[in-house]
Symmetry: C2
């Protein structure tokens, strides 16, 4: 095998997405899966820098809309974890602390699998009057679940997410918040990261444990499987009754609050970013999120050229100081450097040789479409800003094209069975909306799940359920999922 | 008791610092200590916003100096925790996970008390050649220690800190890093937060468990006790030998790396910020770190005035959009609002009444020195920027004055015994540098500890040890500590 093959990505994303993903995770230094506890990964700088940027993008949108940042303890007393009946379903997945040093603790402490049961006992202390509402709080944390099959950034025993927890006077306010949460998702995931998704209202058998209704954003990964990347839950008054969160209304009446929680799945959003924008060469990071935004490669063939070229590289780097810039002056060949930084997804490469020195320009290479243009030194900053916008637009256009091509429609069982083998992604069908039918469908299709109805649009069903033939009650979208 | 007394801070910082601190923590909404697991606190927005800003300030300085951000798992296998002999000393303080759901795990997993033993097994995989060095990495995380006596932001079972872990080819590089770490501390803690401190080299009996040498920044709290707010450790080759972290040098020889770690104690830096700058009215937050930087209070006595005043308030808020601004248009009286936001430490209050409307100015109140000035509407932005710098300078000057007044010198045992009852803070003495003498000194003075010698300056001892009378070998600083 040639050195280059050893170093670069060998699998093709379109042919073997799963191996491609694992190779990118390893070779681009995203995660190290060799940490000596199974299911726990090390987040290396080339992923964590981007993840932190994603977190900050969400935090900004949350705070713009009146949320305040807080941090609640990692540990939850077991009796609180099981206070809300359905939420108790998390228990088999929870890690428990039972000892400190050589001492046994008097009770088990759960590691947060999600923080409703850590936060709501405090809400019950903080909320007394209608003037304490709305209460809108969030935290960006790691959470812990005892998963059996794990995958970096997709499913892990430790993963990163943001959780916003809100309490309101009226159910109507809660429903408004859900629409706001969808808007935040749109703002960050679509507008900033160029990742397409559909927000579904999940069927009642697939709700969050303890929710009245669950709304979730699903994207489609290159292998055609859907990936939930954010979710918003209408908690109704279930938790407020379980945790006694009440307020005195204007007319002196005690009432339970209405609650929502919203969880952008930061880990999975990162997985989607890697998978959807990446190509056979490796990663493609959007400009705003890349740890290095511009890499400068000096090219020279003599000592005399070297000095001139390196001087220009420094000057250009200084000119670009508002961006995150690296001059790669290592001992590798220019070709090796090109390959390395392309694999790592750096949006722009500047090639600077003696021609560039003499002509007062630089050669700008764009990672997304491999185009090369010459830009005058004096126009470089504005040019990179303009190109970075174009690049984001291009990534969005490409991703949306693929996404749209992965949504199809089946009008009969036969058509569905045929489609599911030919096409990947979502299949739109008329459905009876019975849990039992969904169960059979999943079993007999080797995993096709009902992801739900569109969250922001009512689609009227017509005719019969595509699977059981009973009267259709909803238009739903089916997909195999992560 | 009057309503105002109930709402405001009742204890005086100078008379009863401990009660003052607890009251500020509660009434300013910094932490809630009623979380149902002992020693774990809820970080409420009015503290956590500031803590996050402090974290970001350190992250910026760390990254400027070549550190990369990463995230290592929370859990550490017990066998790794005890690999370095002295570091094993952490074990009695460590929480252990032993169960998941109803299942027993095959081995105990420690919650990180600090992350050397999580990170260094990976260093041993990542570092192979001299070209892999230096390796400079950091993470901002919560850590867990089974402490018996806890205090919000000072000592807790869960607390927030940053840990930077670096590996080098030569010991000299490591020592250079230690100086850089001190510089980072100075940059954030002194320059941005106006908190004075001294960096000490700790005596050998008070080193970090597993370090060759420990350097630590101590400030003085208003009760005269010293508080360690950052520390840097020269780990030598202890961990590299325990975890087999080796590299091939230029000439083909295998060598162990030299390591340092640096921990800005973010939690305690926040405690120092609250305690050192605060006054009898409550908090005083520096402008750059305050969740709200400018609060606008409308003042009116008629419906007609109300409309004009509120309109001006909105216009002014828009003018100040580069800052974090709040208009307090709640139903409380202006006086109540004044007290509330003074207690919360908001740097500037703008009072806007009909005079301000008619005269095209606003009345600006400064929290640190209670001064009020009139500023023309058009000069408000630049005026607030200038005042915020003055305010930081004033806070620094005040804090340094108090700090200097808390450093004294004793030349004999008698003088020391007298001083320790009269003066608070550090006492500079000639010392024999024997652990046994330090132990006796601490016992017989009810807690005076040897904090160490100055880290950045050699002070030549003279004469005899202030305590045992043997030949003095060092000039050290004594203090009672948190």
């Amino acid at each position: 095998m040639k050195r280059e093959e050893l170093l670069g990505i060998r699998y093709k994303k379109s042919e073997n997405f799963s191996e491609w993903f694992s190779e990118v995770v390893e070779k681009c230094g995203l995660a190290d899966i060799r940490y000596p506890v199974q299911g726990f990964i090390v987040h290396r700088p080339w992923s964590f820098f981007v993840i932190r940027k994603i977190i900050q993008a969400f935090e900004e949108e949350l705070e713009k809309r009146g949320h305040e940042v807080a941090l609640f303890p990692l540990v939850i007393p077991e009796e609180n974890l099981v206070k809300e009946e359905e939420h108790t379903g998390f228990k088999p997945q929870v890690f428990f602390i039972t000892e400190a040093g050589e001492r046994k603790l008097s009770r088990r402490l759960a590691l947060r699998p999600t923080s409703e049961t850590a936060i709501y006992p405090m809400f019950s202390l903080w909320i007394q009057s209608y003037t304490d509402l709305p209460l809108k709080i969030y935290q960006s944390v790691t959470v812990y679940r005892y998963e059996h099959v794990t995958r970096p950034f997709i499913r892990g025993r430790e993963f990163i997410f943001i959780e916003a927890h809100d309490a309101f006077r009226e159910h109507e306010d809660a429903l408004k918040q859900i629409r706001e949460d969808m808007e935040i998702s749109r703002e960050v995931i679509t507008n900033k990261l160029a990742i397409p998704f559909i927000y579904f209202k999940r069927p009642h058998w697939d709700k969050f444990k303890g929710a009245e209704d669950t709304y979730a954003a699903d994207t489609i990964m290159p292998d055609g499987r859907s990936l939930q990347i954010a979710s918003t839950h209408d908690l109704g008054q279930r938790f407020s009754k379980a945790f006694d969160i009440k307020f005195v209304d204007r007319n002196g009446e005690w009432k339970y609050v209405w609650q929502t929680c919203y969880g952008p799945g930061v880990w999975r959003i990162f997985a989607a970013l890697v998978s959807i924008h990446g190509d056979d060469k490796g990663l493609i990071y959007p400009f705003e999120f890349s740890p290095i935004q511009v890499v400068i490669i000096p090219i020279f063939y003599s000592e005399d050229e070297k000095e001139k070229v390196l001087r220009k590289c420094s000057n250009i780097a200084r000119k670009l100081k508002e961006f995150r810039v690296k001059i790669d002056d290592s001992e590798k060949t220019p070709g090796e450097k090109f390959n390395h930084w392309e694999m790592l997804g750096v949006p722009f490469r500047l090639e600077i040789g003696i021609n560039e020195v003499d002509g007062n320009f630089v050669t700008v290479f764009r990672r997304d479409n491999f185009s090369k243009i010459k830009v005058e030194d004096d126009k470089l900053v504005e040019s990179i800003l303009a190109l970075s916008k174009e690049m984001l637009e291009n990534l969005r256009r490409r991703a949306e094209e693929v996404f749209r091509s992965m949504i199809s429609e089946a009008h009969s069982k036969e058509e569905l069975l045929k489609l599911m083998n030919e096409k990947r992604g979502f299949i739109r069908v008329n459905f009876c909306n019975e849990e039992e039918c969904a169960r059979k469908l999943k079993e007999e299709t080797n995993g096709l799940e009902v992801k739900g109805t569109l969250a922001d649009k009512v689609e009227e069903p017509s005719g019969k359920c595509v699977w059981c033939g009973k009267k259709a009650k909803a238009v739903v979208y089916l997909a195999k999922s992560y």
